[in-house]
Amino acid sequence: MEMLRFATAGSVDDGKSTLIGRLLLETKQIFEDQLEAVERTSRDKGFDYTNLALLTDGLRAEREQGITIDVAYRYFATPRRKFIIADTPGHTQYTRNMVTGASTADLALVLVDARKGVLEQSKRHAVIASLLQVKHLVLCVNKMDLVDYDEARFDEICDEFTDFAAKLDIDDLTFIPMSALHGDNVVQHSPNTPWYEGPTLLHHLEHVYIGSDRNLIDARFPVQYVVRPMSHDHHDYRGYAGQVASGMFRPGEEVLVLPSGFTTTIEGIDEFGGSVEQAYPPMSVNIRLADNLDVSRGDMFARPNNSPIVTQDVDAMVCWFVDRPLQAGQIFGIKHTTRTARARVQELNYRLDVNTLHRDDAQQSLAMNDVGRISLRTTVPLFVDEYRRNRVTGSFILVDEGTFETVGAGMILAASSG
């Protein structure tokens, strides 16, 4: 069974929690005790219908304020796929939360209210999904019941969104008219939308093809940990443990070891108890090399004729998470693959308005939830690829060296070697 990770975005009123509640309910992931608890609370609070949002709002403050505070992860499965939902709240800390949820997502669901149409925030969600290279986007046109299931209204919203999405980097765009509250086109085709011939949401989630979303071309293996048993049975064993970032590795193949630049061959690839014939993403394995080289955590295996850029100078789009502004000259800790270093912000090139895609190059700083393009200089070379081509070797986080908070997330645009 395959796994599909998706992120959901929408504001408090778009019915996102209701949609997730509906998916969980109709795929029988919500258990009787959970449903009973929610029904009881809904009655106590005097709601007319069961508030499925209560299923997902887990923290006391959320229930008190009727808002979702943090990214919540939900799970459900059908016979075809296991699903992981990163449920991201739409109002406070929206960029931070959605960026977090989208960073591991194969697909993004963006909700719009059919009455209100494509709002600024729907565009913002699409921009962030595109920025994070989420390949598949589904626009859920929700609350169709409140516009009398009007096909013309649906078409109008689709057209408007399509025009906007043309400016983005989205491979696959799907539109579904629905009512999460009543269940129209979520799991079952709705008799209320006979004019809609596309898939239901669940059918789409089950069948959307994600097999080619991984990079199986560029062999990249960040060394995570060196396994040296120093035991009687495995006296000379030295395995480089890690998770394949991209590409394929097989015994007998040549690898380039970075940063040393030595070339050697793969002697064997091990998993618990034995060897494997090939390793591909996201397998966690031990790679043994034919030559005894000095290799440690933070190094990387690639190919002599296909290797990442080795550089201390990186240009990236960065999302800023904290209220202290990001400015040129600041120094942070940086974590990129298994490598940690320090990085100085050389320049803030522009701030990107995620609502309009406008580039504002007059800004001197990035505020919380801003997105902008920066240039970084790192203390040691990193082994990087463009984020568009490689989500693993193209991403990094910035860590405040005083508070140790994760203050920013970066996606590498370009790098100059040397």
Binding site: L59, V392, I397
Partner: protein, 302 residues
């Protein structure tokens, strides 16, 4: 051509191995919580895989309430011997004897909440900076918002409104002395995933996870085992039933379910058909209030 696609269980396992290796590489003194329960059994198996052919490079710790199912302790000791890992036992009884905590009284007394103090004391005493737990996000609403790396301050507290954003597979484990990180490699697993893994990987579990005859009585809609740790109250009538346990916690508050599932495949079939969550059905400790888990987690619970 050979496949280049991992199954969902393989992908989950690989993610958990990656997390364990990150911790082993970046922390000075990690420890793995090991109760002998099924989640910790899976954790120990994954730790074995992550560092093979070397031994697991950190100890395991059992927070011992003293209210144990003997089968769980037997299993704990067997796995410790097989893996050659060091075992640290943090005893709630000792915390009581030293006056660190006061034992609850009455027939519903439980040591569940006292464990938090014992756990935090042990973390301080041994200087552990990373503590692996088997917690899963599908268990409970508050857990659904927890990070894989969950930061704890010097009081061991979790602040759900101020968590570090966690992106890609880049975990931020930075902390000061006296603070620590709880690490949950099984965050993305569901109960069914754990059981399917137990089946596929032939992970051994304590026998009480499978149906057996046991003397039990009904309390608050749960079946509790008759044991020296619970007082059977008036009107509660012990009877012998075929039962199994879905979690293994403090024997005074962990309930059994009636079951005929005597092996892993029949357990999976029962779970797939079950309409109640694992914790809702069998954990009295979560029923305290709607925010039962959140409150205990804030204090530093598992």
């Amino acid at each position: 051509m050979a496949t280049t696609q991992l199954s969902h269980l393989q992908a989950l396992e690989s993610e958990a191995i990656h997390i364990m290796r990150e911790v082993a590489a970046e922390f000075e003194k990690p420890v793995l919580l090991f109760s002998g329960g099924k989640d910790s059994a899976v954790m120990l198996r994954i730790a074995e895989k992550a560092f093979w052919p070397a031994r697991i490079p950190f100890p395991v710790m059992h927070v011992d309430t003293g209210h144990n199912f003997p089968e769980a302790i037997e299993f704990r000791d067997k796995r410790v011997a097989e893996t050659g890992v060091n075992l640290v036992v943090a005893s709630v009884q000792e915390s009581i004897d030293k006056g660190r905590v006061v034992e609850e009284t009455g027939p519903r007394a439980s040591r569940n909440r006292l464990q938090t103090v014992t756990l935090l004391d042990a973390i301080t005493e041994h200087g552990f900076d990373a503590v692996f737990g088997g917690g899963r996000r599908d268990e409970e609403k508050a857990r659904a918002k927890e990070r894989v790396y969950s930061f704890r301050d010097e009081f061991g507290q979790w602040d759900p409104k101020n968590q570090r954003p966690e992106l890609w597979n880049l975990y931020n484990g930075r902390h000061r002395k006296g603070e620590h990180i709880r690490v949950f490699p099984l965050s993305n697993w569901t109960e069914l995933d754990v059981w399917q893994y137990v089946a596929d990987d032939e992970v051994e579990l304590p026998s009480i996870y499978y149906a057996h005859r046991r003397e039990v009585f009904r309390r608050d809609g749960m079946l509790l085992a008759v044991s020296p740790f619970v007082t059977v109250m008036e009107g509660e009538e012990p009877e012998e039933l075929m039962v199994r346990f879905r979690t293994v916690g403090d024997a005074s508050c962990t309930g059994a379910v009636e079951s005929t599932a005597t092996d892993v495949q029949t357990v999976i079939a029962e779970i797939a058909a079950s309409r109640l969550t694992e914790r809702g059905e069998t954990r009295a400790d979560d029923r305290i209030s709607e925010a039962g888990m959140e409150d205990r987690k804030r204090e530093g619970y598992f």
